[in-house]
Symmetry: C2
């Protein structure tokens, strides 16, 4: 009899749910294979496709054309991949599942190379074949991988090699991407490793299933049925994330509910962690700063109070008992009504460090958000985070990162990069993007955010001279790894976080094209220098088709789409003119919010004479938060890029633009151009009818029609309002708004989704 | 050139979205057919099944076994079915889609019978072939149909004939059911017509997507994207309902929001009506009685106020302009805080008649709910609806129906039938069942409600002597059609309503087996005398398998399942002992509700000496609301059926039961038996592993595990509590509760789904 040690038994139990899932999902594949691979190949093109609803994301694995498939089959004649650890099983399963779909049948699995075309997957530890190759994996780290064309025992083969199982899984997805995007498999010599250590999705999911700023249905976390029911969707979520390198998931809203930290909910979070673990994804939780009061029975949450510190240490111990690889806490403190250390006259650093100390013994981290501003302060909202956090640089413990939104206001269609980037050299900074389109048309507007992300990452902070891009700040390369050692590894912590756009909608993201925003976020978090256009092309090929007549116009359309939104919503640096709370539709007239800095009039400051927020030296002087070369450029109305004109300056309506038009005429021109752009997108899409499945074609077409309607609404309402302020005529040839201003002002949408 | 009249053009536009949907859904089928029917037949059994997630409901249409398929192909060699009206198109599409799935290929469509095995579908008006047969369709009405084996031009054929297109669609679904359940197609002579005119689903869906008592995700109505985006799911919803004869859908919660009646939302409801129309489903709306104040700008909603009456007439005109076949209003008035006519000292009849008058010119109806009770009244809640409504019999206008829950309290696992049934002979009574399992374990407990529905329908009211079943009250046959004429037809209005269990969960109903409750409700609304066991068998065969080794044990399990819930939750007539508000789990100790009649202690009245609600002559005398034979039986503690003992009587803990046990011992026995029953269900299911797809097997298995855990919780918490009251020992051999009482009392589930 075999006597299991307790530890071994625990491990077996820990992976049992995962194995169950694997077995369940592998069964249909096994049945197929048994039914005859040849038959499969014949019918692959003919079988009645089930509804193409977008569920499969970019991992569709639909049959490739005969010619491509033929070539790829020659390079995947057998699969030699160990499958003893959960991650190894996941990698092997993905390869078998994908190759079955793409090529009509799965390659046989094998142990030795006895012919050409073997695909060999593993680490030196897991695979004797790979050990023999003595590949140079020294510099690719734990998560990196090599994909190489090699010769083994006289036979051509392809290896996917890594230092750790998770690297082989990432490599397997990369290898599959080559097939999905119709790349050759000859002479491969790929070497990849992530530039950022933390690649996180932030879910703003509440315990009741509502998602703040969610436009894709309810939360996919079925808290009520967890931990007992593990929806297969959790596994598909993990697969999708692993395929783009995301390695952490913050399960709950930053406006956190302390109940998430109670045993009832920790057991549920642990069940999710159990599903995600094989895919290299750690679970994080948003922590409510006042939890010691709300669920701990204490009278205070003062971070310097010994009882509070003890409570959090105990809580951390409890969490790590349930989730041994728990990632850490994300915290929104003293922001928009959330509790925080300042309630006790402590600094953000004191608050963050207290939590960090509780997590440190377990290797956990704290991600502390810099999105803070106070209505009570008479100062420009855009300046407050900088003013608050820069003095704290150097005061955070090693396992604390500060998470900063891409811009200083709030995920607008366009913002200049946040001046905090590069301004806290001693503090690891996590760049936070919003993937969900709170301010860019919810789920129905086609707006590819790749160019927005790329614009921020490529922006030069000048923090250490020219070339000090936000990307270099975030990946730490600007600081040469010398300022800090951290709790996870010996080098500086780095990270990027995306506010997820994932919900229970069948297509995950609310629309087919919003899947691309999840995808590009992951790819850029892996490599912040990647091209958003190249990523869009990968995504289109994997998600829809390799047909160039489809790929090219669609990628072009995607690349222009974000600029269209800027044009029809908030051109020339205008910002935050959306309706209150739900942010659906235009409300530049709104002055009724309970906080001035939540009202559009606070931001556009339009009057009879001009428009724009003066953040130059004559105004709030927010420009001074940027490094001198930029401060001068942004602060000078003659030099500021026009796309930021009204962000930094209040100018007269007849201000002369580079086009030769007056500001007012230029605004009307841009609003109109935005609508025209959407019309062109509709025409483009219309011309592609028949090139993809009818189901997804129809949904995109319907959503583009909504987008056009709403773009027109944005244009007309905005023009009507600003015209009521400036009394100016429209330039010749531009249609007046369809309705008078009071029509737009009277529109009301109390149940628009995603409210905060 | 063809000049369209305005009316014709409007009609074309009205069906345009529907045609779009049809075309989109037919495309893949056409492609298949083009790809070669023979190939299809070969591969039908071999193709990799997509995940079996339950989305297809009982309309799965998976390939039949070779032998059955062979026989059925001979009876469907060609399809002769007109397809000019939307309903005809829907019927033809369903037949082609289903036969493709079931038999591997679709029969060719044809115009003439030139060989054996034609399937001929239509009305005398639409099909010359059917006109020639001169079938006797006089008595089957507008919705009925015949399915007959006939000889046409010397060839054996099958006809599906009706008086109206909707009859042919119903007939098509019935015909398909024969194949799906493995019935012979020879010598068919079926004649079907619905016993009830209104067969309705009541959706308790709020405008924000929340569903009151919803356990299957959020509302499937995507109000935000309506009317522009018509989710294909709306069509599948209509198909599923038409397949079981449901002909009306109340879109919004009876706790209504007046905004549902504003132009913004009427346009959205009209879009849904446009999808449903072809499937014979009318749209209804819950109307908030105070809407004239909230959205009409009036100062009152007094039903006798001329302005109020004018406002509702105008609103009705507006609705019918948008939805020409609008069904009418459902109203919850003066109940649980809802506004109503009593706010103005008017009767329910005055309120209902005012709305009925507004709808009458358009053929609309009012369904007025009798679920009223007032905390302020010192009287037994169970008596109040009867006391309020019986005096109003004869006072309602012809187009008003009164909707009555199956029991006098609230959808408990078991209640005696509502005494109002049969007590208002002049008033059409709609029987309201709850399909969603608010009180029967939410989505995770397997509880087939067919036996519950059947028990109510078969209950004898004695209203006109023995044999006056609730079914005969509801279908009007008890009254011989003589008391009323109505607005829709010349005969009495009749109806049954089910509170839907439908949500965005992929499987629609939250669990695989909850689909059966939707199914059986529809089938019983069509024929209230049908057998719930026979319907369960149909459902199992259509949904899972025709394998007798699967069908028999699963039907047996389903038929016993509801009694198991009664046992482990509320045996022997106990009721409403669920936790407050969300009703998740036991809370017999709870006395903290803001209304006495919302607390468990109000209902069980347990003390040191005994337990039960005395509704006999010595107590509230609710028994007197039943006809004399029943009043005597229910009122006599010696004669009352034991299943209603504690519903009608307060008896001592040592009351002797027919088993010979004391009441307390019997309670412990029944609680325990309920848990044992669930264990048996798990064992049964475990033994069926491999007989169906792994995906659905796994979900059911996981949910049964949850059910066992929660059944144990119910048993243990209930026993612990009642033992704390009576101080009695457990009978020998019965395990004590796993935890002390305070453990159960401390459990808290603030985010349990479906709150009110």
């Amino acid at each position: 009899m075999l006597a299991l040690t307790t530890k071994t038994r625990d491990r077996v139990f820990a992976i049992a749910p995962f194995l169950n899932t694997c077995i369940r999902r592998l069964l249909p594949i096994c049945r197929c294979i048994a039914a005859g691979a040849v038959l499969m190949a014949v019918v692959a093109g003919a079988r009645p496709a089930h509804a193409e609803d977008g569920y499969d994301l970019w991992l569709r694995y639909r049959p490739l054309s005969g010619e491509s498939a033929q070539a790829y089959r020659a390079s995947t004649t057998r699969l030699i991949a160990p499958a003893t650890s959960p991650t190894q099983i996941a990698a092997r399963h993905e390869l078998l599942h994908a190759l079955t779909g793409l090529l009509g049948n799965a390659p046989p699995t094998a142990d030795a190379v006895d012919g050409d075309g073997a695909l060999v997957v593993g680490t030196a530890a897991s695979s004797p074949l790979i050990a023999r190759l003595k590949l140079d994996t020294a510099k690719i780290g734990r998560e990196g991988y090599l994909i190489r064309s090699v010769v083994i025992d006289g036979h051509a083969a392809t290896v996917i090699a890594a230092n750790d199982d998770i690297g082989t899984l990432y490599g397997a997805f990369h290898f599959l991407r080559l097939l999905q995007t119709n790349q050759p498999l000859q002479h491969l010599d790929l070497r990849e490793s992530p530039r950022l250590k933390l690649r996180l999705l932030d879910h703003w999911d509440d315990l009741d299933g509502h998602i703040e700023r969610g436009y894709a249905g309810a939360s996919i976390w079925d808290w009520h049925k967890l931990p007992d029911w593990l929806d297969p969707r959790y596994t598909d979520y993990a697969r999708a994330n692993a395929s783009i390198g995301i390695n952490g998931s913050v399960l709950n809203n930053v406006r956190a509910n302390a109940l998430s930290l109670t045993p009832l909910y920790l057991e549920k979070a642990a069940a999710l962690a159990g599903v995600f673990r094989a895919y290299g994804i750690r679970v994080y939780l948003s922590a409510r700063f006042s939890a010691p009061i709300e669920i701990g029975g204490l009278k205070t949450a003062d971070p310097l109070d010994p009882q509070v510190r003890r409570w959090w240490r105990g809580k951390a111990d409890e969490i790590y008992k349930a989730i041994p690889d728990f990632g850490g806490f994300l915290v929104k403190a003293n922001s928009e009504g959330q509790p925080g250390p300042k309630d006790y006259d402590r600094t953000h650093a004191e608050g963050a460090n207290m939590l960090a100390d509780a997590l440190a013994p377990h290797g956990g981290i704290v991600i502390w958000r810099a999105f803070v501003y106070a209505n009570e302060k008479p100062d420009d909202r855009a300046k407050q985070a900088y003013d608050e956090f820069v003095p704290l640089d150097g005061k955070f413990h090693d396992n604390v990162l500060v998470q900063i939104k891409n811009g200083a206001i709030d995920f607008q269609p366009r913002e200049p990069f946040h001046p905090l980037f590069g301004a806290m050299p001693k503090t690891p900074q996590v760049l936070e993007f919003q993937i969900t389109k709170e301010y860019l048309g919810f789920a129905t507007h086609l707006a590819y955010l790749g160019p927005l992300y790329e614009e921020t990452l490529a922006a030069d902070t000048f923090a250490r001279g020219k070339g000090s891009t936000v990307a270099k700040v975030v990946d730490g390369s600007l600081y040469g790894d010398k300022h800090s050692k951290d709790a996870l590894t010996k080098s500086r912590l780095t990270g990027m976080a995306g506010v997820a756009n994932i919900g229970t909608d069948r297509n995950w993201s609310g629309s087919q094209f919003d899947q691309a925003n999840w995808y590009v976020f992951g790819r850029l978090a892996w490599n912040p220098s990647a091209s958003s256009r190249a990523i869009a092309e990968d995504w289109v090929r994997m998600t829809f088709s390799n047909d160039a007549a489809f790929v090219t116009p669609v990628v072009d359309m995607m690349m222009r789409s974000r600029e269209a939104v800027v044009d029809y919503m908030t051109p020339l640096g205008l910002h935050h003119l959306m309706a209150h709370d739900h942010h659906y539709g235009p409300a530049p007239w709104d002055a009724s919010g309970k906080r001035a800095d939540w009202t559009p009039v606070y931001y556009h400051r339009a009057d009879r004479n001009g428009i724009g927020f003066d953040r130059s030296a004559t105004g709030s002087n927010a420009v001074a938060q940027y490094m001198p070369p930029l401060a001068q450029e942004f602060g000078d109305v003659k030099r500021v890029p026009e796309q930021y004109l009204l962000w930094f300056h209040h100018v007269s309506w007849d201000h002369r633009m580079s086009s030769g038009r007056s500001l007012w005429d230029e605004m009307v021109y841009r609003y109109t151009r935005g609508v025209e752009q959407v019309k062109q997108m509709r025409a483009t899409w219309h011309g592609l009818d028949g090139k993809i499945d009818a189901d997804r074609y129809a949904q995109v077409a319907a959503f583009l029609a909504i987008q056009e309607k709403e773009a027109q609404w944005w244009r007309d309402a905005s023009i009507a309002y600003f015209q009521s302020i400036n009394g100016l005529p429209l330039p010749a040839g531009f249609a007046p708004p369809a309705h008078p201003l009071d029509y737009y002002e009277a529109l009301s949408f109390p149940y628009a989704p995603g409210h905060g």
